[in-house]
Amino acid sequence: MKENNLDIQNPILSIKDLSIAYVQDKYAVKNVNAEIERNAITAIMGPSGCGKSTLLRAINRMHELYPNINTKGEILLHQENIYKMDTIKLRRKIGMVFQRPNPFPTMSIYDNVIAGYKLNGVKLKKQQRDEIVEKSLQDVTLWSEVKDSLFKKGTFLSGGQQQRLCIARALAYNPEVILLDEPTSALDPIATARVEELLVELKKKYTIVLVTHNMSQAARISDNSLFMYLGELVEYGKTNVMFTNPIDSRTEAYLTGQFG
């Protein structure tokens, strides 16, 4: 791995010698080392099949949903190895937003926002629930659009609204880190712009890790970038430096559109 002048003090996450195989000895992620900066947007880039989604999912152990997964190495959250933690507690601290907006179709907008509490059996008073719903929806700038239809199903919203609802659902459960897996790939340019603005604002309170296949998105909003290729972390550094001055020839080839 090549690193440009990246110097992360007091990282929130440290990925150490992480390797992940879905099939025996066929690694989707190979020996990755990286530290994730607090209150920053870190973008993971690379051509499809490079392991970027697997790496992201490994951070809240969602990759373990597939059977026969083999994970080596560790990820430290506040110096604690997440592979020794309870997944219930881990996923409270690390929330996730997916590629396609996936509000629960059987729940209202309101229930979608507090789904984290409901699913985990946390009993809330009505006043607490109302407060969480209102503030979470305000944080994703959805409140004014939906405040009169909170008890309608979330699926009638537009794609961009649905994705912001999904971000609100992750925020409502009060995580420290939010993982986003190509969150705008199913959205139109205007909805994409709104989500991007939102992420830039959210990093003041949260640490954001974002997988994207869209290089200009990474350039626009991320602070740091990882470039992965064939499961390896090729290059990691300040986004503005990497985009103007890539160290590795493969990074340069990718950024100049020679493959992807």
Partner: protein, 303 residues
């Protein structure tokens, strides 16, 4: 750019009670319950098959296929002298074949043609009506179709119990299954094959006979085999229509036996009770073999 202000970390006041151990325990217990109940679900079929094999296998020999069923006196004498009950189920096997073949001859053409009609007229009101009626027919209890076989054929056509009456009842059972499977397989034939034939000026009936039916043949065959296997073991409608016979009968207007009817007779005759297991084993073997062949065809088609 719209201005966004992030309020704060949400409700830090909310205290989380650590319930994760209890939840994980519940999760594990639930999975164990699912596995146990699933094992209970499949145990009857394993028990039934093993019971039939263990109790029925000994009775199956050449005579079993070539001799007609014994009468109760012969069976009693054999039991008294400690011999194997003589005879077989030849009258049942021939009867079942006769009844099911006639039922198929009635049901297959009507079912396939109706299926083609439904496929050709997707979305039309009358076609939807026929499809719904066919679904209703599929749900009619077989005993009710026995009554129909009696009212329509026994009373009016053959003036007495007959193989044909049973065939009519069974053909009504087979019909909706064949209609449905024909329509479904036709839907899987690529549209362009049909269009290519039409563009060459092939007449409509030849497109159906030479293009549609051949290219969905394996699907049609599967549907037909499953429909046959569905009626092979039917007893109730035959009680009301074909009645049974102690001889091999190949006249469709006369009472006829069938394997399930023989099982019913053996069950009701204390002297012949030993024959129920071998007959059941034979019947179930026949049904499962047809099912297996049908599944093989499906599996090969999916490849």
């Amino acid at each position: 750019m719209i201005s966004i202000t992030i309020n704060r970390n949400i409700s830090p006041s909310i205290k989380f009670k650590d319930n994760s151990n209890l939840r994980k325990l519940k999760n594990r217990i639930f999975k164990i319950i699912i596995i146990i109940l699933s094992i209970i679900t499949i145990s009857p079929i394993v028990l039934i098959l093993s019971k039939l094999v263990i109790k029925g296998f000994r009775q199956i020999n050449i005579d079993f296929f070539t001799q007609v069923a014994p009468d109760t006196f012969e069976a009693m004498m054999a039991i008294a002298s400690g011999d194997v009950i003589p005879g077989g189920i030849a009258n049942g096997i021939t009867g079942t074949l006769l009844i099911v073949i006639i039922a198929s001859v009635i049901a297959i053409p009507i079912g396939v043609i109706t299926g083609v009609y439904l496929y050709e007229n997707q979305g039309k009101k009358y076609a939807n009506l026929i499809r719904n009626l066919s679904d209703i027919l599929q749900g009619v209890p077989s005993i009710v179709l026995g009554i129909i076989g009696y009212l329509w054929v026994v009373l009016r056509v053959t003036n007495g119990f007959s193989a044909f009456a049973g065939s009519v009842a069974l053909s009504i059972m087979m019909l909706p299954l064949i209609v449905r499977s024909t329509e479904e397989t036709m839907k899987m034939v690529p549209e362009n094959i049909k269009e290519a034939a039409a563009a060459l000026g092939v007449p409509y009936h030849k497109i159906i006979l030479r293009v549609m039916i051949p290219s969905s043949f394996s699907g049609l065959l599967t549907g037909i085999l499953l429909a046959i296997s569905r009626v092979l073991g039917e007893t109730a409608p035959l009680l009301l229509t074909t009645l049974g016979s102690s001889f091999i009968n190949l006249n469709i207007s006369k009472p006829t036996s069938a394997v399930p009817l023989l099982i019913w007779n053996f069950y009701n005759d204390p002297n012949m009770i030993n024959l129920i297991w071998s007959s059941s084993l034979f019947l179930i073997g026949l049904v499962l073999a047809l099912n297996l062949i049908a599944k093989r065809i499906i599996a090969r088609r999916e490849k």
